[in-house]
Amino acid sequence: MGGLSDQPRIGVYICHCGTNIAGVVNVEELTKFASGLPNVVIAKNYQFMCSKPGQEMIIEDIKQHKLNRVVVAACSPRMHEPTFRKSLQSAGLNPYLLEMVNIREHCTWVHEHEPDKALEKSKALVAAAVVRANNLEPLEEKELPVVKSALVIGGGVAGLFAALTLANAGVKTYLVESSPTIGGKMAMLDKTFPTLDCSKCILTPIMNEVANHPNIELLTYAEVVDVQGSVGDFRVKVLLKPRYVDPAKCKACGDCAKKCPASAPNEFDAGLSKRKAIYITFPQAVPTVYTIDPKACLYFTKRDRMGRPICGVCQKICPAQAVDFNMQPKTVEINVGAIIIATGFETFDPRLKKEYKYGVSPRIITSLEFERILCATGPTGGKVLCPPDWKEVPKRVVFIQCVGSRDLTVDVPYCSKVCCMYTAKQAILYKERVPDGEAYVIYIDVRAAGKGFEEFYRRAVEEFNVIYIKGRVGELVIDPETNKPIIRVEDVLTGGIVELEADLVVLAVGLRPSPSTLKIAELLKVSRSPDGFLQELHAKLYPVQTAVDGVLICGCAQGPKDIPDSIAQAKAAASAALEILAQGFVRTIGHVASVDKELCSGCGICASVCPYDAIAIKVENGRRVASVEDVKCKGCGSCAAACPSGAMQQKHFKDAQLMPVVKTLARM
């Protein structure tokens, strides 16, 4: 049974609350009734219990009458439980030894016309509260220290800004990025809407700031492989993949790549060009170090009859002797107080929409591929030319919106938010470079909600004469003679069928959660929303927190969004992380789950139920038993309700504390 080892000595205090309570029930009679209840040492009533004299009365009585439990019958505990808990603390009593009875909101205010019944009910409620008070126990809110450092996973624009915000606030921040350089998708863009800023030009200063910041430790070409612990004390294992090039020695002169005989599709050009097996993602990569792709490199993939590698050219000619084929993967362990996930997105795979014939004709490309064509650092130096030969200037480009968005046939019901804007941008950039070309946009709706967005879209239509046709593409066929795509669409605004032969078709692919987002979610036990992105704690109020304390999310990992929104969310996530780190400690709550290991059979039902993964089944003394991590427990009590043997209980709401209340109320 609950309770202190000594005999309960209960003080009951009935509040008049002016006439709010006393005007309906006879408080004297209620007080007399209370004084006769088990273990009640003193029962009083007073005008306003929450006032200073009222609270002082309680504090005095606790000291004078050696009370060890207090019952206050007054307003709702949601109002004044903290007030009276403080009173108990002032008197040296544990704040959890207070029980409040709601005889105002739940009684006198709602049964004004039935004062006799209200008094009867008040007696029942007070009796139940005294019964509960008899079984209350002192509870502890533990303060656990927090490691004042943070981990940001993902080096795209969101991750970069999150890391900078934390670093500028004085927090040691690790930034882990799985590709050889930071920068993410933003580094692949030519210009950004609606200002048409050069993307790399605004991004590279940020990348350099991150690289040079004394508080940021940059771990590129690295992946998080294990996470243990909880908020304030995460122990993270990071795998550092081998570049086979020593970053301390490499000067990025590029001689190795010139001579390298092997090549592979260039991911940075969305596959439109090739790069060498030894490569740098782009010239302004951070860190500015070359990397060897072991899947393409001949040293790793081809051996002669004697088993020796057939190539090692780069190692021979590197003037800095930076190539080291014997590099091994290394795992480092870091200890952080908070983790921010900024793992970004990938584009929708248009091969899932067979009707758009992506892959059938080289003239049908994705928006990301078109972006690379537009980019001065891309496969064509910024000239708009048709793949794969790069000889023909397309005179008619048709952009198809909502490819892999708002489309239940591919299980993507949501809108990817940015495609209307990036398509308008791409159409404008095309028209700038090919003024006599025709740009068509086939759309369902144009969503241009952000600052300057509507104006930008109007520019595309009015200034650049981009032709917008509202309708869904009914048919896309490849003309067998010209090999050009022919698009047939019903223009719903005019009612006519439009047939367009295109030199180039650009599919505005939607945003999907990236593979690393899915992996990290599993590792950190962060749930995913129905759309596949990471689930925020509350759709309205807590957009950057997750159900796992100490793990924050931002950028496209949380859902499709553009650059300014990603940055805003990144800073929000950093600020949420700072809330944890700046305080220096995390506090557990008092009413956590608690298991009687003697009764526990290790059946694991409780662990299945916990929404916060606060319960683990571990072997202790040769038996599997449940073990609660107090810092993760939020005190819902679901595990206690699920426990088939009664071994799992919730402090302050144990069966032994609740059942007598239920019985008293059912009987009275």
Binding site: E598, L599, C600, S601, G602, C603, G604, I605, A607, S608, V609, I617, R623, R624, S638, A641, A642, C643, P644, S645, G646, A647, D655, M659
Partner: protein
């Protein structure tokens, strides 16, 4: 010939399938050790002592009365009350005596509807005279008295004061031996305790417990006769309704070893007020559904919910006195 130093033991069976009697015999060689230490003064299934013999014994002279079976007839009530008077210790042996067991499911129906069905309406019944059992029958040879069919099936402790309980349907030989050894040891535990079995749930000793995944998430419940489980994985995780988590251990998971999920015959653990209520709480807690439709669909795949969760314990349910008994 009774010996003054031997422990005097009585066995009795009420509404019983006989399995609990067999369970005693199943002690095998250990039975001889027990018989050496005890003097059996009453055991209808094995000895010829009559009730009159028991009536002649001094009150409290029987050391231990081990009673199995539920109280279904007036005769049962009469005899157990007699045994209570004559015995120092009364042990409720087996699930029927402890919690009513399967026959207590009859409490879902009214007495009259049971009589009607068994004697008049059941498909295989031939009863031209529509004769129902009568307590008094006048025959040419004299008056006959038959025991009355009581209105509900009761557990032993709902009729007399019970000192100890041995759970199981039937209790296993190990549990039985342990219980008897405790009783004969002279070192008696506090009154009301369960003897011979564990204080923890069956999962503790089940060899499949460690194969449970971190999170149980069942989307459909399977029925044992329609599904052959993988014998190396926790049955509950496979969708079979195994009562292991809510059932007292001690049987060493014999059913699981025979590829059947636990049905709960060892009854509830000490802190549990209502076995069926606890069972349905944990079952509902491990389903894999996050919307109302899905929840209803998955839970709808459980056939005969009352039979599943109250198979052995209906007579001990918190609602035993409130059941609106069905007519027909």
């Amino acid at each position: 010939m009774t010996s003054p130093t031997k422990v005097k033991v009585a066995f009795y069976w009420n509404a019983s399938c006989g399995g609990c009697e067999e369970a005693i015999v199943d002690l095998g060689e250990d039975l001889f050790k027990v018989l050496e230490a005890v003097d059996i003064v009453f055991w209808p299934v094995a000895f010829d002592f009559k009730i009159e013999d028991v009536e002649k014994l001094p009150d409290g002279s029987i050391d231990v009365a081990i009673i199995n079976g539920g109280i279904r007839f007036s005769e049962h009530e009469k005899v157990v009350k007699l045994l209570r008077k004559k015995s120092k210790i009364v042990v409720a042996y087996g699930s029927c005596a402890c919690e009513g067991c399967i026959p207590s499911l009859a409490n879902l129906w009214s007495k009259s509807s049971i009589m009607d069905y068994v004697y008049l309406k059941a498909p295989s019944v031939v009863n031209e005279g529509n004769v129902l059992p009568m307590e008094h029958v006048r025959t040419d040879a004299g008056d006959l008295e038959l025991p009355a069919f009581l209105d509900t099936l009761k557990t032993l402790d709902q009729v007399i004061d019970v000192d100890y309980y041995v759970p199981g349907c039937p209790p296993t030989p190990k549990v039985t031996l342990k219980a008897i050894e405790t009783l004969l040891s002279g070192n008696l535990p506090p009154k009301g305790e369960v003897l011979g079995a564990s204080k923890r749930a069956l999962c503790e000793t089940c060899h499949l417990n460690e194969t449970k995944p971190e999170k149980l998430a069942i989307s459909e419940f399977k029925r044992p006769h329609l599904f052959i489980p993988d014998p190396k994985k926790c049955f509950l995780a496979q969708g079979l309704l195994c009562m292991g988590p809510v059932t007292r251990g001690g049987c060493e998971a014999v059913c699981i070893k025979a590829n059947m999920p636990c049905s709960g015959c060892f009854g509830p653990l000490d802190n549990v007020l209502d076995f069926g209520a606890r069972a349905l709480s944990f079952i509902a807690s491990i389903i894999d559904q996050k919307d109302e439709e899905g929840i209803k669909r998955t839970l709808g795949s459980i056939a005969d919910l009352v039979g599943q969760v109250y198979k052995f314990s209906l007579a001990k349910s918190l609602l035993k006195d409130s059941i609106k008994r069905k007519e027909g």
